[in-house]
Subunit: 208 residues, 2 copies
């Protein structure tokens, strides 16, 4: 299909498609004449992926680029490729000076060891969790992560990982991991806030 | 304490404290002389709250202002006050034209009715979940929310709501709701990504 049809089918404006082509987020079409390129279903699917990452995942373009580079670089072993995509989805957290941080980070490392989880020693998610623990402690929130660990483990092992085609094409595996992480994460977060509103309404107005 | 001591104890720079005072995020201290005000523990606690909302919740200043206005406006009934704080925590989602959106929104409303959840008809969380469902459908992800509904309900009813002092001072209730929503949500999201990395490592390298 031509770029005009790609635009109609994807709902993405032509100038935006050209921007994605220039930035390398979208692979080039097949050049069929000097000023004409042909696009196919892979471009349509990629545009939907970019849109989901932008609008639902709220990732900046630089992070989207990293994810897509990992999908396209066939020389990367699958585990590293998935890790790059995965880490791009998290926020960047800088370790903070002081005892609070050191203790929280130790708590995270101990938790991971105790659970027997297989996590890279430099995984940025360790610092991310440590930051949350520091804030919880500073603000006096109770810090028992057990129910959250259980919920996360159950969802991931019983549901989410089964949706990922680990032994199929590598792009499909990354795509499923990224989309699942972002979209199921978003659904879970929204459902949690819905449950909070409902529970709060019931506790405050038992007759309602 | 003077503003200099407030700065040291909170770790927030004096110009930033003055900015929060001007924006109404931080309540004024007690004026003890023309150029001198006295601050207390309530200011220290408020600065920690602002920092948590900014750094952990990643809320823009306008949203933080809304939350704090709701905490301070004693004329607001507690359920409305909690709602304002709660809705400020979610993203702003605009309904999209088309059949996909209509179907997804219907699915959300039906889910809430079937669950018997007590949710305001105009709650922005309804559109937020609809948007995620539209993306899932467009990208071909399986949409069975049951395990996520169960996880959310369990965490909220068995753990989170018990940390909120509904019948104590109103500011404490909002603060606990906001902090719990943001920080436990963040912890859950990070733990989910940690569980994914571990599960992925084990499935790809069974000997590790």
């Amino acid at each position: 299909m031509r770029i005009s049809e790609l635009s109609v089918k994807s709902g993405v404006a032509i100038p935006t498609i050209k921007y994605y082509l220039r930035e390398g987020l979208l692979h080039q079409g097949e050049q069929t004449a000097a000023t004409r390129a042909e696009y196919d279903g892979s471009h349509l699917r990629r545009l939907r992926l970019i849109r989901a990452l932008l609008e639902v995942g709220r990732l900046p373009v630089a992070s989207i680029k990293k994810v897509i580079d990992a999908v396209e670089d066939e020389s990367l072993p699958i585990h590293e490729m998935l890790g790059i995509a995965h880490y791009a989805l998290g926020p960047t957290v800088e370790p903070e000076p002081g005892e609070d941080w050191r203790l929280a980070r130790e708590q995270v490392d101990r938790l991971i060891t105790d659970l027997g989880w297989n996590i890279h020693p430099d995984a940025p998610t360790r610092d991310e969790l440590a930051q949350t623990l520091v804030r919880m402690r500073q603000l006096g929130l109770p810090i028992d992560l057990t129910p959250y660990v259980e919920a996360a483990r159950k969802l991931v092992s019983e549901v989410e990982m089964d949706t990922i085609p680990f032994h199929g094409p590598r792009d499909a595996a990354v795509e499923a991991l990224v989309l699942g992480t972002v979209l199921y994460g978003k659904a879970l977060d929204t459902l949690r806030r819905l449950a909070q509103e409902s529970e709060s309404a019931q506790r405050l107005n038992p007759q309602s």
